[in-house]
Symmetry: C2
Subunit: 113 residues, 2 copies
């Protein structure tokens, strides 16, 4: 059981472990949005957005409701948003090192291209 619980948590973290999916959740912080609105705001491919939304749906991070042609998404439980807020605190607490790390990542990224 303890073990299953850990797998569940890991699964949930996995669901959030992508910048685009974080962006989606952040966009939904203040209420629901249609898939189309999300795509527009994030400026990403429709198929890609839909795939990420599917991940978040599968892990029950988001719920959706259909209204005619459109699908509106919202965050199912604000605890998820709370987690993101703590992450923000964490970020502020460790700004210095983090910025250094980010720069390193960015540099590595550019080198790879």
């Amino acid at each position: 059981m303890q073990d299953l619980l850990r797998r569940f948590k890991a699964d949930l973290f996995q669901a959030l472990a992508h910048p685009t999916r974080i962006a989606i959740v952040e966009q939904l912080r203040d209420g629901e949005l249609s898939a189309g609105a999300l795509i527009e705001r994030l400026g990403i491919e429709q198929a890609n957005a839909s795939q990420h939304l599917a991940v978040l749906r599968a892990k029950n991070v988001l719920t959706n409701r259909k209204v005619g042609n459109q699908v509106f998404y919202s965050v199912r439980d604000r605890l998820i948003i709370q987690v993101l807020d703590i992450m923000r605190q964490y970020f502020h607490a460790h700004m210095n090192e983090i910025v250094a790390t980010l720069k390193a990542i960015d540099k590595a990224d550019k080198a790879r291209r």
Copy 2:
């Protein structure tokens, strides 16, 4: 910047997105432990533990200090533990569905073998 921040958050979630790594962080909740002690408590391969510890170190979730032959690990910032605590709340809030999901996962796992 907003973008880099999201990548940072995603990275941190990624670091926590494995049951073994969650178990490690949970073991360290009340203070530091040596790598050996962790391995013993979790009952996993030495090399595997070391790899997971490397991930957690790389993302600055853990810090370590050497004492002679041994390396003691601890959680760098209790905010991380707070995140896990919120996950626990989340778990309790959605117990029913989660248990169903876990069973499904388990079943799929067994079918795969």
